[in-house]
């Protein structure tokens, strides 16, 4: 039976982890490679890096991070943030990323999804959707959630699946950072509209939120950042909890 995946996400800025695990025995708390290794050793099903480097001159730092991580972690590695072109995707894959997540660029020009999924295969093209509730619907936001687009999230999900996306990483802008749980309606709507796997993101504050994302939101995988940081919960605890709730996980 296919297992539901737990994916810890690390925000990386200028090659350093911004929020991360705060373990006393960490030699270098800001080192993304070391943190990713802790997650993969702890049973993470995949690792996700979100590059939030703002300035262009420091963009290349992420490539070094990916190169080093992929030599130490032997679970899938997804990298997102600032991915604009086929060339960006090629560079990340070449450095050892297994999947690349595309956000703003996919909204602005869906051809990048069509072209990249043809060139590299759908299996490595994740499209990230940042959506904000607007009455009964959800609107897509770009540029790290700063710019509204007027595009309906459900319609967009359908369209981008047809363009060749292999997975959708859906983040609720309303819930992101709030720790009150995923936007279950949004996850359920998108997950039941498309035929590709949905990764739920945004709002996890406790382990039960992960259960809700899978059971109610019908997500194939759950992504979380802060509950795994600062040692609040380990991946192992999360998996044991999901297992206890009857959700199939890899233990």
């Amino acid at each position: 039976m296919l297992k539901n995946r737990i994916i810890p996400c690390l925000d990386v800025k200028n090659g350093r982890v911004v929020k991360g695990i705060n373990f006393v025995d960490l030699k270098d708390a800001g080192d993304p490679v070391e943190q990713a290794k802790i997650y993969s050793d702890g049973g993470a099903d995949e690792i996700c890096f979100l590059d939030i480097t703002a300035s262009n001159e420091n963009r290349d730092t992420i490539y070094e991070v990916v190169k080093k991580t992929s030599k130490k972690c032997f679970v899938p590695l997804t990298v997102g943030g600032g991915v604009r072109s086929i060339e960006d995707i090629y560079k990340l894959l070449h450095c050892g990323a297994d999947k690349v997540s595309i956000n703003t660029a996919a909204v602005q020009n869906s051809k990048v999804v069509i072209d990249s999924s043809k060139k590299f295969g759908s299996q490595c093209i994740v499209v990230a959707i940042d959506a904000k509730r607007n009455g009964k619907n959800w609107e897509i936001f770009t540029h790290g959630g700063r710019n509204g687009t007027g595009i309906d999230a459900i319609e967009y999900a359908k369209k981008i699946e047809e363009c060749g996306a292999g997975e959708l990483l859906v983040t609720s802008m309303d819930r992101d950072g709030t720790q009150v749980g995923y936007d279950i309606d949004l996850m359920f709507k998108i997950s039941s509209t498309v035929n590709i796997p949905v990764i739920a993101s945004g709002g996890v504050g406790n382990l039960n939120h992960l259960v809700e994302g899978i059971k109610l939101g019908k997500a194939s995988a759950v992504l979380a950042a802060s509950i795994f940081h600062y040692g609040k919960h380990s991946i192992k605890e999360a998996k044991e909890y999901l297992d206890l709730k009857g959700i199939p996980v890899r233990i």
Binding site: G121, N195, R250
Partner: protein
């Protein structure tokens, strides 16, 4: 000993390279190349493959003499070869992704889309699934039955001779996830992304 990972520009093979280098350490030399001479003189060959059946076979055929060299290596000389994902699928006579495409024809059978039971199951089949080992194999040494492996695919290779199937996994139906014919091995899952158990499989192949 030399192990060649065939680099025929079939998408991303960094993870395959990293995992083999991790396992090989200094004992075994890992080369990444499409050089025919080097392939001929190597002890083992790994044939990775990402993207579609058609894009991979096209890429393989675009390198002059590569298919003949691989034939000689695996079929005539019967040296160990491991196909991963589309690398395995290409063992087939024919594949139906994008359009009907001829494969290497090493193991007779076809590659067709996984039946998603009218949309009940999502495709690609992405994530960790347990393998049921149905035939004893040297590449499963020290790997327990029902171990988790990482999958990402929408198509599966169905060999005509069911005795060549070495493991299956449960999804929309029982999906064939590894085959073995004498010196030719193939996994639909990605050992290079399957954590310690995947590395064990790679080690088993290197130690054949």
């Amino acid at each position: 000993m030399n192990v060649i990972i065939v680099d025929y520009k079939s998408g991303n093979i960094s993870s395959v390279i990293n995992s083999f280098k991790e396992v090989a350490k200094d004992k075994v030399k890992i080369h990444v190349t499409s050089d025919l001479k080097k392939i001929k003189s190597s002890d083992k060959v790994v044939l990775p493959g990402q993207g579609s059946f058609k894009s991979c076979t096209d890429a393989l055929n675009s390198i002059n003499g590569l298919v003949e060299t691989l034939n000689e290596f695996a079929i005539n000389n019967k040296k160990p070869l491991l196909g991963i994902c589309v690398g395995l699928q290409m063992f087939a006579d024919v594949g139906y992704e994008e359009t009907e495409t001829k494969g290497l024809g090493w193991i007779s059978g076809k590659v067709s889309k996984i039946d998603n039971k009218n949309g009940k199951y999502k495709l690609p089949h992405i994530g960790w699934n347990q393998i049921e080992i149905v035939k004893e194999s040297k590449i499963f040494k020290n790997i327990e039955n029902n171990s988790h492996m990482y999958f990402v695919h929408s198509y599966e290779f169905i060999p005509n001779d069911k005795n060549l199937i070495s493991s299956t996994t449960d999804y929309s139906s029982k999906i064939i996830c590894s085959v073995e014919k004498e010196n030719i091995f193939g996994t639909q899952f990605h050992p290079e992304k399957s954590d310690k158990i995947g590395l064990q499989l790679i080690e088993n192949f290197i130690n054949l």
